[in-house]
């Protein structure tokens, strides 16, 4: 693999990870809020 390949692999996982974590946090927060609303 070329240097560019390693750079793409490194940045891809890090940026993708940040995006996935943002999405996961948002979904978990919404799920708890929804459960709260249903409980009331």
């Amino acid at each position: 693999m070329t240097d560019a390949g390693y750079v793409i692999a490194a940045y891809g996982v890090i940026v993708g990870g940040l995006a996935l974590y943002t999405l996961s946090l948002w979904r978990r927060l919404r799920a708890v809020q929804r459960a709260d609303d249903e409980g009331r």
């Binding site: 693999m1 240097d3 490194a10 996982v13 890090i14 940040l18 946090l25 809020q33 409980g39």
Partner: protein
């Protein structure tokens, strides 16, 4: 609303720094393009330390003040620290292969102690699932979080204490901050990436704290409902069962 604005500012800052790190800053003379991996790698490693430090500090504050808000901060720090430490390890591996010739070397103290740090805080997150009682969970987790934090200075100083593949600290003393060995364009990009990641870290911490507080409220509500259900007379009970 303020947190949402912070999220958009962090997103913009990370996007700008990605463009700068990948396309604006020149490639290193010796390491070529692989050196570009250093910007998110070092920033992630520092944010990993910061997150676990916050977890340990919040654990101490929980043990002292007995306020569950500190436990919510602690779990936020641990989860986000695990993510950033995993990024640091991954980035280091992707840089290590073209520069060192290997992805990983277990004999290297920095690499091994960082892997241990990651394992300790993954363990911390798993350990929290062992009990449903919020106070007992916070106390046990605080102890684990504080003990695990002993590894943070070991990771940081491992490059000074033992010989290995990993280079010494990027910024180890005030003198190296003011007179860095690398050109200012590289140092500026590194600090810019750190600032952008720091904004993202702050956004994640706030959101994860809010989630922990909401989950705690939900747990409390479920517990109250169960107690009320247990106290209420059972409608399906037969007259024989009632007589018993």
């Amino acid at each position: 609303m303020k947190t949402r604005i912070l999220g958009f500012v962090a997103l913009a800052a990370v996007a700008v720094m990605l463009v700068v790190a990948l396309f604006v800053v020149p490639a290193d003379l010796n390491q070529g393009d692989a050196q570009r991996i250093m910007y998110p790698h070092v920033a992630s490693a520092w944010l990993g330390y910061l997150s676990f430090g916050v977890t340990a500090l919040a654990g101490i504050l929980w043990l002292w003040k007995r306020d569950l808000r500190f436990d919510a901060v602690a779990v936020a720090g641990a989860e986000i620290g695990v993510m950033f430490t995993a990024f640091a390890i991954w980035g280091g591996m992707m840089w290590g292969r073209p520069i060192w010739g290997v992805f990983w070397q277990w004999e290297d103290p920095r690499l091994t102690t960082t892997a241990l740090l990651l394992a300790l805080y993954v363990g911390y997150l798993l350990f929290r699932r062992l009990t449903d009682d919020p106070e007992r969970r916070a106390t046990r987790a605080a102890i684990v979080g504080i003990v695990a934090a002993v590894d943070i200075p070991i990771v940081h100083f491992s490059v000074e204490w033992w010989r290995g593949l990993h280079q010494t600290a990027t910024i180890g003393s005030p003198d190296r901050v003011l007179n860095p060995a690398a050109p200012m364009v590289f140092v500026g990009t590194l600090l810019g990436t750190l600032a952008a990641f720091m904004l993202a870290w702050l956004y994640f911490m706030i959101r994860r704290y809010q989630l922990a507080r909401a989950e705690l409220g939900r747990e409390e509500q479920v517990r109250r409902e169960r107690i009320e259900a247990a106290r209420a007379p059972h409608p399906a009970a037969s007259p024989t069962e009632v007589a018993r």
